[in-house]
Amino acid sequence: MQVTGQLLLTVLMGALLLGVAVFLARVEDWRSYTPLGAGGTAGESGYVSQEKPSGIIRWFTTVDHKDIGLLYGTYALIAFVVGGTMVMLMRAELWTPSNDASLDLLGSATFYNSLLTSHGITMLFLFGTPIIAAFANYLVPLIIDADDMAFPRINAIAFWLLPPGALLIWAGFFPLPDVIPAQTAWTMYTPLSAGVGAGNQSNVGVDLMLLGLHLTGVSATMGAINFIATIFTERSEDVTWANLDIFSWTILTQSGLILFAFPLLGSALVMLLLDRNLGTTFFVVGGGDPILWQHLFWFFGHPEVYILVLPPMGIVSYVLPRFAGRKLFGFKFVVYSTLAIGVLSFGVWAHHMFSTGIDPRLRASFMAVSLAIAIPSAVKTFNWITTMWNGKLRLTTPMLYCIGFVSNFIIGGVTGVFLASVPVDLVLHDTYYVVGHFHYIVMGAITFAGMAGIYYWFPLVTGRWYQRRLAKAHFWLWMVGTNLTFFAMVLLGYGGMPRRYATYLPEFATLHRIATVGAALLFVGGLIFVYNIATSWVEGTRVSSGDPWNLAEKNLNTAEWAWFEQRRETALADGGEEGDAVTDGGKVDADDE
């Protein structure tokens, strides 16, 4: 029966690869579709065609931060599609309670658990971190007016470590004999993940996943070192610490967190691999004990959630004021709260372990710090709201996504504060409530901010406009879908539905179906998004001004658009074409504001 699911997944993956191939084939002449900003044809100072080789070779050899940013972005979106496909299979399974050993759709709980594990790992490590790196690579050097990243070659190496990482992480799903995908869930708790006892987690599929994770961690650490060096030393003379933009601040803080979090995870992964294969005692009862894994994992894991959320907060802080018609309210406090979160995030890890029987005094102090960390988060939220207060809002797609971010972040944050309280957590731990909480943040906030960024900078990167109607449809499908899916999960948790199960009692059926319907909306929205981006990239209307969002009017323009304008002028002077523009709230035809 499991074969059905495997088959389904294989077919879907095949369809995806086919789609990519078709797209690549359509763009057979890579040179003529090069994004405006990416060098090559639109030469500056007479370097026409001399900076980069043509064709696909350019992408394998590039050391240009903008190209590498695009590579990261493509990689992240492919991972997003893979991880999304996995979870759609799970949600489809959960349409029925299937209260018997063979599930209705996926065949076996084993396969469900494999999808669950891979979905989490894929979304956090192969989509989340890379999509942020995509924005940071493309934009930070432009915004701080640097030539490039501090170490352009290390930048490229860091990216090229990711594809083999993904292959190892997904290897369990490939048709390799006797290799089964890991079913440890993304937290990889010992002793299950150490492969001891009954069950099949001593299978080498788990080792492959751990190796792949380690590799992506190395990549993230190299990237972080590069960003720290870049922001410290590559700023142009006019960019001082006092006027450093909010996005770069969040990237700097995030890089600091990565620097201490990811290598520790790396060590823990190696220790786990040694336990599994060479008989060491790091996480063995009577040695370091299984609880040591939880401490090391969450000492990484909690900072990791802020590694994922700080830069999206930076994007929102950067983009939202542009469409609110005023400067970011309380800029300084947004920066300070970023730094405060960065420091505090290393002091809250045990709030994931309240129910493990750790010392109650420890529990109490971790509860206090966890409640405290909500304060800087709230400071930011109030700053976003006050920025919009009395502003002249322009409800463009990026702005809608920013507002969606704030609204979802509030629900995600408030549910988090409840979890931080020990007695509440003892009731809700390991229920769907927790799943609802963090998906409000990872999907409702982080991914929404990513979308705000993609739509906002789409003209900057491609010189073209996305299709406005499709973009708005995407937003509304996602806003409704996110809240349907994840609010249903919050309620499921209140009802006592435990997380990580392929079956459930019949009384949970209604809420589970609502969640699946919501997920279907997300899926449709995702399809629209991919279609919109792919087609607009190739044939969208060209941007007709150097200030497509019309920021100059309110004096809200930023450095990357000045760069864009300059690029555009040289390109036009070289005989670039110009067409009618259908903007999204920009200058030409103000849309539905």
Binding site: E44, S45, G46, Y47, Q50, E51, K52, I57, F60, T61, T62, V63, D67, D147, D148, A150, F151, P152, R153, I154, N155, A156, I157, W160, L161, P163, P164, L167, L168, P177, D178, V204, D207, L208, L215, V218, T221, A224, I225, I228, A229, T230, F232, T233, E234, L259, F260, F262, L264, S267, A268, M271, L274, N277, L278, F282, G287, G288, D289, L292
Partner: protein
């Protein structure tokens, strides 16, 4: 990690990789791709090895071994190309502004920060078992012998000689610089030899191995990780040494001497911590009680 070039600038336009293969382009280089393919290949090799290891037997073990050898080779080729074009070639034509020096130093500082986190995993394990109910393990080999004391003295001495070498190149005293640098490298290699000898003694004569109780994991985990770092430090110093023999470096051109010594001093400091925490910490109240 190591260091990166002062990039080429032309009419204010940034061209970081003019020298690299493929030639003739300013922003294209195969080296990162080759290096990353090698590094990724190492992981794939380990994965294949584990697939053939023990009673898993999914693929023959040689697949893994062959992939590992090939991947390490590829990795080294990529690394060589990258480091050579980034730092070594056209050494004297490069600018020497403070800016490129400070960027390399910040890179190294950040890298060392990440190293703190790497080491702390093993240390935390040791603290866990040291304060846990399974302590004392009752089966300790003689950790605090004369060997570790001599080895510690050697490593500290190497930090001193490296510091003096650094001072010498600042004063443009090349002869003294090369001599002291060579001495440092020698001391580093002697230290590694000492560690190997200690492993040999423990494994062959004391029967103390990686799987000897809870302390074996801590001992070999931590000293092994540290040994890898000393080895890498020695490789870095070796590169600097060879370059100095080729006549590179001067009073105002020695960034990689600075970054390599930051790394070396760091590894030295970790060793002292390791001796205090692991060797001394395990002996006190640890041995056959």
């Amino acid at each position: 990690m190591a260091t990166e070039t002062e990039d080429a600038h032309d009419e204010g336009h940034h061209l970081p990789a003019v020298e690299d293969w493929p030639r003739g382009f300013g922003e294209a280089s195969w080296w990162p791709f080759v290096t990353a393919a090698g590094a990724g290949g190492i992981y794939v090799g380990v994965a294949l090895f584990l697939m053939g290891f023990g009673d898993t037997n999914i693929v023959p073990v040689v697949y893994g071994q062959a992939t590992l050898v090939g991947a390490v080779g590829l990795f080294l080729v990529g690394l060589y190309g990258w480091l050579y074009h980034a730092f070594v070639s056209h050494f004297w034509q490069r600018g020497t502004d403070e800016h490129s020096a400070s960027k390399l130093q910040w890179g190294m500082i950040a890298f060392l920060g990440s190293e703190v986190a790497t080491f702390s995993g093993g240390f935390v394990y040791f603290f866990f078992i040291r304060s846990g109910p399974s302590w004392p393990p009752g089966e300790l080999p003689p950790l605090l012998g004369s060997l570790v004391l001599i080895n510690t003295a050697i490593l500290i001495a190497s930090s001193v000689t490296l510091h003096l070498a650094h001072g010498a190149i600042r004063k443009n005293n090349r002869g003294r610089f090369i001599g002291l640098l060579g001495l440092t490298l020698l001391l580093g290699i002697v230290f590694i030899g000492g560690q190997v000898y200690e492993y040999y003694e423990f494994i062959a004569h004391e029967g103390f191995t990686l799987t000897t109780g809870i302390i074996g994991s801590a001992f070999y985990g931590l000293t092994g990780l540290h040994g890898l770092h000393v080895t890498m430090g020695a490789v870095l110093l070796g590169i600097v040494f060879v370059r100095s023999l080729l006549g590179q470096y001067s009073a105002d051109r020695h960034v990689s001497v600075t970054t390599a010594s930051m790394y070396w001093h760091f590894v030295d400091a970790v060793w002292i911590l390791l001796v205090v925490v692991l060797y001394v910490g395990a002996e006190i109240g640890g041995g056959a009680v």
